[in-house]
């Protein structure tokens, strides 16, 4: 959390670059598995992740944020577009091709119960990356695993214990230790604290913070909780139905959101302040998120947007920088400089 928020795109400091990323999951039917449609989980994402920053990705369920996380870690192969890590195109690398890169890109999962093998000891789990990569750290695997356990706030004596002996927060720490084993550059955390209780959640958030300072990590943190995202991120990407609708630094996003969806999302979060309950202006969105199998035409948000006009139903708004470092995909942005919408530009 040390990198200044405003920097030119695609500068030399971009650790990971994503261009036009697409992932469609085919829907098949019948004996011949004929494709009858596709879930357009991720549909054209372009952004970069800069060295040392924390990029927060928010959105509601089904917006494709987890799929995005799995694409940039290459747990999934993109249908289209390009993922470039440190200048190298990794979009279609095979298992073997990805292996050396796995040291640099690691993932922390949401559910600390299902992401640890219950039959393995903590030592085996945290030591697995060394074994897979054929690396013997200085002083041996055991010593290094114990160092990692201490790093994440567990005790080295936990080496021979099994996951079931730990609480949810401690398990999440084990998952973090495993992700850090090989000194990665990029850590993608998919809902790292959403399964944890509030008091434990704060412990893990602080731990992620400390580790970033200590090890110079770059984070992509995916979460649905806008309060957590505000706390941890330098820049934030808001997703809706497989698209990026807004991408900017933390302060601008929370103080002057430009996309109506972002605005509605922020206004919907319950604020822990009983005095504000009556004073708040809340934008209530109608209905639910449409299905990603047949997303709405034009702007995907137009079916729920109170500002939607004719142009929104036909033309898809591109993601453009309306202010330096503040990218928005909307025909009628809020808080726009000079009140100029994009409709004029696009038309």
């Amino acid at each position: 959390m040390t990198i200044p928020a405003q920097q030119a795109n695609d500068g030399p400091e971009a650790l990971l670059t994503v261009e036009g990323l697409v992932k469609h999951f085919p829907i098949t039917k019948g004996l011949l598995r004929r494709q009858v449609g596709a879930v357009q989980a991720v549909d054209g994402l372009t952004f970069d992740v800069r060295n040392g920053e924390t990029l927060g990705v928010v959105g509601e369920s089904g917006c494709g944020k987890s799929t995005m996380g799995r694409l940039i870690t290459r747990l999934l192969e993109p249908t289209g577009g390009r993922v470039t890590f440190q200048g190298k195109d990794i979009s279609h690398l095979g298992v073997a091709g990805m292996r050396p890169l796995r040291r640099d890109i690691q993932m922390i999962f949401q559910d600390p119960y299902s992401s640890l093998n219950p039959r393995h000891t903590v030592g085996t789990i945290v030591g697995a990356p060394f074994k897979l990569q054929g690396i013997t750290p200085e002083g041996g695997v055991k010593k290094d695993v114990q160092r990692l356990l201490e790093l994440v706030g567990l005790s080295p004596e936990h080496y021979n214990r099994y996951p079931h002996e730990f609480s949810g927060g401690q398990r999440q720490r084990i998952g973090i230790a495993r992700a850090l084993a090989l000194n990665p550059k990029l850590v993608v955390a998919d809902e790292p604290v959403s399964a944890l209780d509030v008091s434990i959640q704060a412990q893990v958030v602080n731990l992620l913070d400390d580790l970033q300072d200590e090890l110079g990590l770059t984070y992509v943190i995916i979460a649905h909780d806008l309060s957590v995202i505000r706390h941890v991120s330098d820049r934030i990407a808001v997703m809706y139905l497989g698209k990026l609708v807004e991408l900017t630094d933390r302060t601008s996003l929370y103080t002057k959101p430009m996309h109506p969806y972002t605005k509605a999302l922020l206004s919907a979060v319950p604020v822990p302040d009983p005095k504000r309950r009556t004073k708040r202006e809340r934008i209530l969105l109608k209905g639910d998120v449409p299905s990603p199998i047949s997303p709405p035409s034009g702007c995907r948000f137009h079916t729920r947007c109170w500002k939607a006009t004719e142009v929104c139903t036909t033309q898809e708004p591109p993601l453009v920088a309306l202010e330096p470092g503040h990218q928005v995909a909307c025909h009628h942005p809020e808080n726009a400089p000079g009140g100029a919408g994009q409709a004029a530009v696009a038309g």
């Binding site: 209780d197 008091s199 319950p270 309950r277």
Partner: protein
């Protein structure tokens, strides 16, 4: 009066809902799980009580206990040992005839569950399930009236085209609509007590906002007493008039929402407030987490359950021993009991002046 009003056993209460010294224990192979261990509170009609706590603090067990949904027995798996008193509108439920409680359940008291998909029967239409709840309690009514009532309620909770959607199955509804349908089901008999157990936890933020608004509007309209159980301090701040903070099966603090948020008197409440990332302000400070993890309910620490995690446990506590359990005591100096609110109470050994000082000088400036 500085101790818990709990209680003059057997005496009829003045409050609409009066829970007295409720204990719900489950015998297991590993020992007795004391999920709820001496909980008392009152609730008046027209008010909303928010019960906050982390997983395992006993909040859901409490709600099921009030509804009389535990299988009671001295021995055996899953059997609960329950003691205490639950007075609803002048009737004592714990000693009441089970048939009488069954008549009340769904009619005078109803519940909204966290996960509408598992709380509804996948085999029957939404309409069937709502009319069933109506017909059970209105023996004179015919199916036609019941159906009309179901459509009316679906319309009230904001389901579009209710006369058509009433024949849909739960899987044909989205998560938010299912939660609306469940609220409709709970409201079909105009209950006077509505318990909502994590009503929005499974929902997205934008849908959560819709449901919170709906619950608030419905309460105004029906004037029932509402208990909202949640782990989310944001949700209680939105809905609750009074807040009860649970830890290790007991109430550690209880009072009007503004008191609990702005002048909290228990170190655990401070911990919750400090742990919470804020959406409404720029935070440069680190979060202040509570160290350690929640206690096992089999071996609840003797004395204060929060003792092992409490940063102030070493401060002198006015001649009380560490193993003594702190009782709920009225916070002095505050306004006297507001109507139905029952005043501000906290269970901590630290002298009140010391707690006020810690909160105003050490905690509040960092939040």
């Amino acid at each position: 009066m500085t101790t818990d009003p709990a209680l003059h056993p057997g005496e009829a209460p003045t409050a609409f809902l009066d829970v007295r010294d409720l204990r719900i224990h489950f015998p297991t192979d590993d020992g007795l799980v004391k999920s709820v261990d001496g909980l008392s509170f009152q609730l008046e009609k027209g008010r909303t009580l928010g019960i906050v706590g982390e997983s395992g603090s006993g909040k859901s067990v409490t709600s099921l206990g009030i509804m009389g949904l535990h299988t009671v027995g001295q021995y055996g798996r899953g059997k609960a040992r329950i003691s205490g008193e639950i007075w609803l509108d002048g009737k004592e439920l714990m000693t009441a005839d089970p048939d009488e409680v069954r008549r009340l359940r769904g009619r005078e008291m109803a519940m909204i569950f966290q996960d509408p998909l598992s709380a509804m029967h996948p085999y029957f239409t939404i309409g069937h399930q709502i009319t069933e709840a109506y017909l059970v309690h209105n023996s004179g009514a015919d199916k036609k009236t019941a159906r009309k009532r179901a459509v009316e309620l679906l319309d009230r909770v904001g389901i579009p085209q209710p006369d058509r959607r009433v024949d849909d199955y739960p899987h044909q509804f989205s998560g938010g609509m299912r939660q609306r349908a469940m609220i409709a089901m709970a409201l079909v008999n105009n209950p006077e007590l509505l318990i909502a157990d994590e009503p929005t936890t499974a929902l997205d933020v934008t849908v959560q906002a819709q449901i919170l608004d709906l619950i608030r509007d419905l309460q105004k309209e029906f004037g029932s007493a509402v208990i909202v159980i949640t782990h989310d301090l944001g949700v209680v701040a939105e809905l609750a008039d009074d807040i009860l903070v649970m830890y290790g099966g007991r109430c550690v603090e209880r009072g009007p929402a503004e008191k609990v948020f702005y002048e909290p008197q228990h170190p655990y409440t401070w911990g919750l407030l400090g742990s919470m990332p804020r959406i409404d302000r720029e935070q440069t400070e680190r979060l202040i987490p509570v160290k350690g993890s929640p206690p096992s309910l089999i071996n609840v620490p003797s004395g204060c359950a929060f003792n092992p995690r409490c940063p102030y446990a070493d401060l002198p506590a006015g001649g009380v021993t560490r193993t003594e359990r702190p009782e709920l005591r009225r916070v002095l100096g505050g306004s006297p009991a507001a109507a139905g609110g029952g005043g501000h109470w906290s269970a901590c050994h630290l002298p009140q002046e010391e707690r006020t000082r810690i909160w105003t000088e050490e905690i509040a400036p960092k939040l």
